[in-house]
């Protein structure tokens, strides 16, 4: 059953600025949807529109089949976790978690039971009588989630909940959020600008750019078949190498001197893309093209090599290669690479759409 449906949802501010032109999305029950995009792409606005904190100026928002466009946030049966947690500083952890239930007229005994259940699930038992000021960042994050969970809502909304945590804690909480969501099977809408978070958490991803959904799909769909150059560059780290080229009978001409043979019906200006991890080191005989090494980043398990394509073009084309294991090529040296055909991505140079 579809839980949350966005039909032609749009937002235009009173000053005429169109933050979100139109988005269609239908979310199944228990699905984990991640809205991802660079800052200012409208992902938070969209989430806040679902929450009821921003008005919807166009389209319909349906939760469990009911149109909730004009309902107050409290009446939409949603719960939200904010980036800064937004815990009430003067209330204890228990009071923070209870507050929503209290306003709903839930009895004291029931409130107590619910809080204890959730506290046990999140490991907050010991902290119930403390105030937010006495908690660490990770604990506050947990309380914020607990506050959302006690309400037992139909939809969870997360607004960049992990961006205030340090790297290690972020990884830990990411796993925890995923496990909790699986366990509770509550439909979830999660906003982030971090593509690793997006890839690891999502059942389906929505990549937003300037208020438009560039692509909606599973993380692997987006990785394997990015619909646009924007998605191609956004998903994956380091991002995909994209080079300008021309598709002709002979193949892809990346410059006057460099062409890659390929049979394709399309003719004209394209963008040719390949992910850094799909480039392979080779020798001068078998290599498709060569690279002049400019910087080497050794990460232990893998090595990132930044270089410039030796194609005789006036504008140097930067290329990133990701090789597993340690490699130490000299700066300025030449490196031959092969680009396996099955990993190529071709995009129309004008529309930026996948060919």
């Amino acid at each position: 059953m579809t839980d949350l449906v966005l039909e032609n949802i749009g937002k235009t501010y009173p000053n005429g600025y169109q933050a979100i032109p139109s988005i269609d999305l239908s979310i199944e029950e228990g699905e984990f949807i991640v809205l991802v995009g660079p800052s200012g792409c409208g992902k938070s606005t969209l989430l806040r529109m679902v929450a009821g904190l921003e008005t919807i100026t166009q389209g319909d928002l349906l939760i469990k089949g009911n149109r909730v466009n004009d309902k107050e946030p409290a009446d939409r049966d949603i719960a939200m976790v904010f980036q800064n947690y937004a815990l009430y500083p003067h209330m204890t952890v228990r009071a923070n978690m209870e507050y929503g239930l209290k306003n709903r007229g839930v009895s004291k005994q029931e409130r107590h039971n619910k809080v204890m259940d959730v506290a046990a699930m999140l490991g907050l038992d010991e902290l119930l009588e403390r105030r937010p000021g006495q908690l660490s960042g990770g604990q506050r994050q947990r309380v914020a989630m607990g506050r959302a969970m006690v309400r037992d809502p139909k939809v969870f909304l997360f607004d960049e909940p992990l961006s205030n945590l340090d790297a290690k804690l972020r990884v830990q909480m990411r796993v925890e959020i995923r496990q909790l969501q699986r366990k509770l099977a509550t439909t979830t809408l999660y906003v982030t600008h971090d593509q690793v978070e997006a890839m690891t958490l999502a059942d389906r991803l929505v990549v937003l750019n300037k208020g438009k959904a560039e692509q909606i799909g599973t993380p692997m769909e987006l990785y394997d078949k990015p619909a646009t150059t924007f998605v191609a560059e956004f998903i994956g780290s380091p991002s995909m190498n994209l080079l300008d080229g021309m598709l002709t009978e002979r193949g892809i001409a990346l410059s006057d001197r460099l062409a890659l043979p390929m049979a394709h019906d399309y003719r004209g200006a394209i963008k040719w893309g390949i992910r850094p991890e799909h480039l392979q080191q080779s020798d001068a005989v078998n290599g498709d093209f060569s690279l002049q090494v400019q910087a080497v980043e050794s990460l232990g398990a893998e090595t990132l090599i930044h270089g410039v394509l030796e194609d005789g073009a006036e504008q140097p084309n930067p290329i990133v290669v990701r090789l597993s294991g340690p490699h130490l090529p000299d700066i300025g040296s030449r490196m031959w690479l092969t680009a396996p055909l099955q990993h190529w991505h071709l995009f129309d140079a004008i529309t930026q759409q996948r060919l």
């Binding site: 929450a51 009821g52 904190l53 107050e72 946030p73 409290a74 949603i78 719960a79 939200m80 904010f82 980036q83 800064n84 937004a86 815990l87 009430y88 500083p89 003067h90 209330m91 507050y99 929503g100 306003n103 709903r104 000021g133 506050r147």
Partner: protein, 282 residues
């Protein structure tokens, strides 16, 4: 100062000691004077050490009468002052916190204009509007009453402004979290806003209590019945003796009594007061 220069140290201590001396000397004179027998000030020299009349003087002033011109015990004046000061303070806090709440959290037409009108009233202290205010209070038949003493002084642009600044520093996400938790405007005000501005209320309480306590001109104008006299204004009337000597020993007792409540408020609330001004929480 991190560096350690003996002369600088000596000099700064000297300034502090002189400052303390200047402030403390009049208080000392008042304290000593309050224990002197009648007439000891009239001999031409100011006594600098305690006399033997302390208990009698204090008992007389507190419970019998304040002096020959004021046939009313000082405890009654203290009570009047307390009622007025507390009334003004609580009224100011209540009115300004509600108006700041409206200005910060609600979108209504002419919101900005209304705020500026409130702000401009800063330029109209009691002294400026005293004649029309008197007229209004007289027409309302509130001369010689506690409400007459309190009501004209309870609107405060300063307090409204301070609460506004305090409310504006509350993160928007907190307001939104409360909305999602189903807290309407009234609930939000009492459950979240009021407890969060606790320290600001305390700081304003201190400032406004002292302001109310020290009111001189307004009580002087609207009270003609000495059962409504306040302590601060009666000191002046104790000094204006038509013939005979000023009873300095009684004046000193009254002065000290007038000083005590503000001191008590400041000492008692100084922790909250400082916290409210520097605003560490949130």
């Amino acid at each position: 100062m991190i560096e350690n220069r003996p002369w600088l140290r000596f000099f700064s201590h000297l300034i502090l000691v002189v400052g303390v001396f200047l402030v403390a000397l009049p208080v000392w004179v008042a304290l000593v004077g309050s224990t002197q027998p009648e007439g000891s000030f009239n001999s031409g020299s100011i006594p600098m050490w305690f006399g033997d009349q302390g208990v009698q003087n204090w008992a007389h002033v507190l419970f019998a009468e304040a002096g020959s011109t004021l046939q009313i015990p000082v405890w009654h004046l203290l009570l009047n002052s307390l009622v007025m000061a507390l009334g003004i303070t609580l009224g100011k806090i209540a009115i300004s916190i509600v108006s700041a709440y409206a200005i910060v959290f609600f979108r209504f037409p002419f919101r900005g204009v209304i705020f500026w009108i409130i702000f401009i009233t800063l330029m109209l202290p009691v002294e400026v509007r005293i004649v029309p205010t008197y007229q209004v209070i007289a027409n309302l038949d509130m001369l010689n009453s506690y409400s007459g003493l309190i009501l004209p002084l309870i609107a405060s642009a300063t307090a409204t402004f301070l609460f506004r600044q305090c409310f504006m520093s509350i993160p928007g996400e907190l307001v939104e979290a409360a909305r999602i938790d189903g807290a309407g405007p009234i609930r939000f005000f009492f459950d979240i806003l009021l407890p969060m501005s606790r320290t600001n209320i305390a700081a304003l309480f201190v400032i406004m209590f002292i302001y109310g306590w020290n009111q001189y001109l307004w009580p002087l104008i609207i009270t003609t019945d000495d059962t409504y006299y306040t302590l601060v204004m009666s000191i002046k009337s104790m000094l204006s003796v038509p013939d005979g000597d000023i009873q300095w020993n009684y004046v000193m007792v009254t002065t000290l009594l007038a000083m005590l409540p503000p001191v008590a408020v400041v000492v008692g609330m100084q922790k909250l007061f400082v916290k409210g001004l520097v605003d560490a929480e949130k």
